[in-house]
Amino acid sequence: MKELLKSNLVIMVIFAVIVLTAPAWLTPIGAGYPDILQKFAIFGLFAIGFNILFGLTGYLSFGHAAFLGVGSYTAVWSFKLLTMNVLPAIIFSTLMAGVFALVIGFISLRRSGIYFSILTLAFAQMSYSLAYSVLTPITNGETGLQLTLADPRVVDGMMGIPVTDSLPTTNLFGLAMSGYSGFYFCAVLLIVGFYVSLKIFRSPYGMKLRAIKSNQTRMKYTGFNTRPYLLSAFVISGMFAGLAGALMAATDPLAGAERMQWTASGEVVLMTILGGMGTLIGPLLGVGIIKYFENIFSALNESALHEVFSFLPGWLEEVMVWISHHFVGEGWHLTLGTLFMLVVIFLPGGVMEGITRLSAYLKSKFKGSDEITSEKVSEDAS
């Protein structure tokens, strides 16, 4: 078992099976519909990429949403100008985000710690404000960039795809990007992204990034120039964000400036910390929890609560509904905030630490002398 989990192939097979069967096992908890599944996969990619920077090097970027936004805008422009096929959109977005990351990273990485975070935050807010005001011709401001019937779509025109009086939909050579097929497309990219992340985590390159986190000064004294490693990690994670942004536009062809706001940057930080920074799976768990709260908890209203508690006697049902309705619907932020506090106070390593502790406890209970296996990676990281 222990040896098995060290093999990349086995991990990838298990991961792929879990991801691709998500519609089946998420349905019982009400999260098996295409839109939320797509969000899980897309933000999963975003968080995996963020974790390569934050989890491995310890550099906390507070402006990653800028790359997400750049990716989205590039993708929508590709839909408008070239073709509704998502492939060029994804390639252009990832590259464009990479270029942005190179510029922002080159400047921001001259500082570390809190100064680095503030610099990235400043760049992201600057991008957001620009998208909102000066760059309105490119971004369409607060209304957001949308497709119109009058778009040129040059490549589609050359391929002879007929123009109808309804908006064309995004596709991958005819495969629709909405609904379940859209999810499977995102899921495949998530699996690829996870594989890249796994390879980085388990490579000498990943080791150097961890070394930067543990003691950059010592690393420099041993003759390493850390700057190229940091910058490349920053660009890679920026490209992940750009890819996620492109997928957001692919599944729903619209790009708004709010995707670049600091709250969006904060969200991915929360996801990573909540799940467990520096672990492979942790960020994905964080994504799952936060997106589940945002989409499912926020939609519960009192009549739904009455259904949930209908097995209780009348008066108790009323009491339970009265208490819990503050925590659902518009109060979902409250629940999430409480959960976040509890995790940070009691499980600083995030949900992954909880799982590690739980499995260690169970092992001691059942006298399994096996070492911790799959969490080995996470132990290495911290």
């Binding site: 009400g30 098996g32 519909y33 295409p34 839109d35 939320i36 969000k39 909102y132 005001s133 401001g141 607060e142 209304t143 957001g144 949308q146 019937l149 391929m159 002879g160 795809i161 007929p162 009086d165 309804s166 908006l167 064309p168 939909t169 596709n171 050579f173 005819g174 495969l175 629709a176 909405s178 609904g179 379940y180 097929s181 729903d252 619209l254 708004g256 709010e258 995707r259 989409n295 926020s298 939609a299 209203n301 619907g329 518009e330």
Partner: protein
């Protein structure tokens, strides 16, 4: 020979085109692969689900909360509970008070956060997970347009709530989208004669505009109609939605030489900007030998309540006000008041009416199939819903009806009696040609 080769090229190209078209056609309707019915989310059990998608957080949260109250009340009335409200006054009426087409009405709610992304995610959840047949709501035109586009692609009906931008039924109109609320074009046409009468023809205006589709639309309409009167426009400054503090935008107004400030703001933004404008002493100023004036083209009682004393004597337009004395308005105010203890806002009114209109159209069409419902709504004429005789124009899915010009009440008799109606502008004075604003409806998608 040459004919031959021409023929063969043509047919090859024709074949390519045909196969491309087939691929595109195959891609288009697979939005819901798991749906074997003739149209999306065809109700199978004893209930039909509607999706109420309103802002519960952000600058328009007050309006959103009131909209949700109205929706819940409408569902009650549709299911034959409560006193029936406007179902007693609506003419012609096909509803029987036993749900819609014999199915009980159920609903799901969601928070748009006044953000296009969140609103679309929420609407998608309603359509994909909860099986909603119709989405309604929105307190921001940007959000309404984004969700309307989504509903068109998904093949469900969108009944717009509070959205005032021309674009909703103008350049961004959709076959599946319907709007009962009026728009900035009508506001401009209704306000201009009153502004001329009160303030004269020789005025200089300064616009502060919420920086998104509605703000741009309203700024354009007011400019168009006031400049036709002979007014000048000094400047039009865009402010971000939900800015909170407007002092940096108001200070320059003081010395700009303008003598009218037009606030193209809504919700909490309007409350804040108006309050600050009054605090800065704009209303006590004399410019060009005239009293300085403030105009708020789109007014609502909820905002008036937020702005308190500051709204006294300020002109604006509104879709509906609870103080109207026709039968429909009285019935609605009575049942809303009995349920919640205070009168409804114009946002609540339009959302309530939209829900009833949708249900009535299903009943008329005898089906929930969106194509049938669209046909029933197009060109539908009705009255007894608080706005007098009203028509859903078939060409752009916009309701045409009288527009109210209101003024902040100088001597309110209660905390809700904040707006007085100074003029009811007849429909004929605010009507425009359907193709004036551009846009195409497209075709029914089911």
């Amino acid at each position: 020979m040459s004919d031959d080769s021409k023929f063969s090229t043509l047919s090859r190209r024709g074949f390519l085109k045909a196969s491309m078209a087939a691929a595109a056609a195959g891609a288009a309707p697979t939005f819901f692969i798991n749906n074997a019915n003739a149209y999306v989310n065809a109700p199978t059990g004893g209930t039909v689900t509607l999706g109420f998608n309103v802002p519960q957080t952000g600058a328009y949260a007050d309006e959103g909360a009131d909209e949700l109250r109205a929706y819940k009340l409408a569902v009650k009335h549709l299911n034959g509970e409560g006193d029936g409200g406007m179902m007693n006054t609506m003419k012609p009426l096909s509803l029987k008070g036993n749900g819609v087409l014999g199915k009980k009405v159920a609903y799901v709610t969601g928070d748009t956060q006044t953000k296009s992304d969140a609103a679309r995610a929420s609407a998608k959840r309603m359509i994909e997970k909860d099986g909603a047949l119709m989405i309604t709501g929105g307190s921001s035109s940007g959000v309404a347009i984004a969700v309307q586009g989504l509903c068109q692609d998904a093949g469900v009906i969108f009944m717009a709530g509070l959205t005032h931008s021309n674009d909703t039924t103008g350049k961004d109109r959709r076959k599946h989208g319907f709007r009962h609320f009026f728009n900035t074009e009508m506001s401009g046409a209704a306000l201009a004669p009153i502004l001329e009468k009160e303030f004269g023809k020789d005025r200089t205006a300064y616009h502060l505009t919420a920086d998104y589709t509605w703000g741009w639309s309203q700024e354009g309409s007011i400019k168009k109609y006031t400049e036709a009167l002979g007014w000048q426009t000094k400047a039009a400054v865009r402010t971000p939605l939900g800015a909170g503090d407007f002092s940096q935008y108001i200070t320059p107004v003081l010395n700009s030489g303008a003598d009218v400030l037009v606030l193209n703001h809504y919700g909490k933004d309007m409350v804040n900007s108006l309050t600050q404008a009054v605090q800065f002493g704009l209303r006590d100023k004399q410019v060009n030998g005239k009293d300085f004036q403030i105009v708020v083209p789109l007014f609502s009682r909820l905002m008036a309540q937020g702005a308190g004393e500051n709204i006294k004597g300020i002109y604006g337009s509104t879709n509906w006000n609870w103080s109207l004395t026709d039968e429909g308005s009285k019935a609605f105010v009575k049942s809303f008041g009995a349920e919640y203890g205070f009168p409804p806002s114009q946002a609540a009114h339009t959302c309530y009416v939209q829900t009833l209109l949708y249900a009535n159209a299903c009943e008329m069409a005898g089906t929930f199939n969106p194509c049938g419902v669209i046909e029933a709504l197009e060109g539908f004429k009705f009255e007894g819903m608080g706005n007098g005789p009203t028509e859903y124009r078939a060409e752009d899915h916009q309701c045409f009806k009288d527009v109210l010009v209101v003024r902040g009440n100088q001597n309110p008799t209660s905390q809700f009696d904040l707006l007085e109606v100074v003029n009811v502008t007849p429909r004929s004075a605010v009507e425009y040609a359907p193709d004036m604003l551009g846009g195409q409806l497209g075709s029914c998608n089911a």
